[in-house]
Amino acid sequence: MTRQKLYSLVLVLSIAGYLWLIVNLFPDWLFLHESPEVCLIKIVTGFPCPSCGTTRAVLFFSQGEWMTSFLMNPFGMLIVFSLVVFPVWILIDLIRGTSGFLIFYNKTEIFFRQKMVAILAICLVLLNWIWNFTKGF
């Protein structure tokens, strides 16, 4: 992954994320009565995916209800962190001409490729998925 490719991808994803939050905060603007359903797994099978509820979790977090946000979906916190930190980090990198975020990205990839870490992460995601089932989305 090259620096330019990664930075543009993350910036586009961040902008899309903020746009998605705006759509969910003000659905009336798009003449929607409720927030739209986009999860392919949920549409096709009717069952939630591991990250279903993340949007609601982020919205709860932004209103200061951190516990509700965590109970809705712990992924929400990760998304909030990414949406706040990554674009700023990238902009600082671009202004200064450094590659701090790229190094962080590569180190994260290497970290998650370790067998034990990968197994633990997969177990956590599966547990979160099972938890999502019990929440009855």
Binding site: M1, L13, A16, V38, C39, L40, F75, E109, V125
Partner: protein, 112 residues
Amino acid sequence: MEASKVDMYLMTAGKHFESHQIGFLREKLLALDDSKFVQLQSVSLKDPTILLIVSILGGQLGIDRFLVGDTGLGIGKLLTCGGLGIWALVDWFLIMGRTREVNFQNVQRVLM
């Protein structure tokens, strides 16, 4: 390496690479030392068709990206519900090309 050996390798492994890379690969393989043939054959190549199937079935969870080795992007896809479904959909069309690219990079490591 002998031309017949190279052609046989390219015939069996050709579908794992982009068509425009085949000519370059053939040239490099012909110039390659015979002793590296075993090493070359032991390079694990991922089948683009399999990756496409995985992408269609498990793209929403980023499994295709994890398989191809893009762990960071896989995590991104997993956390964002396949990029709101859009990224997962776009990847149906990108993943085969990306698989061939990764295969080419892996083989290049032996060639260099």
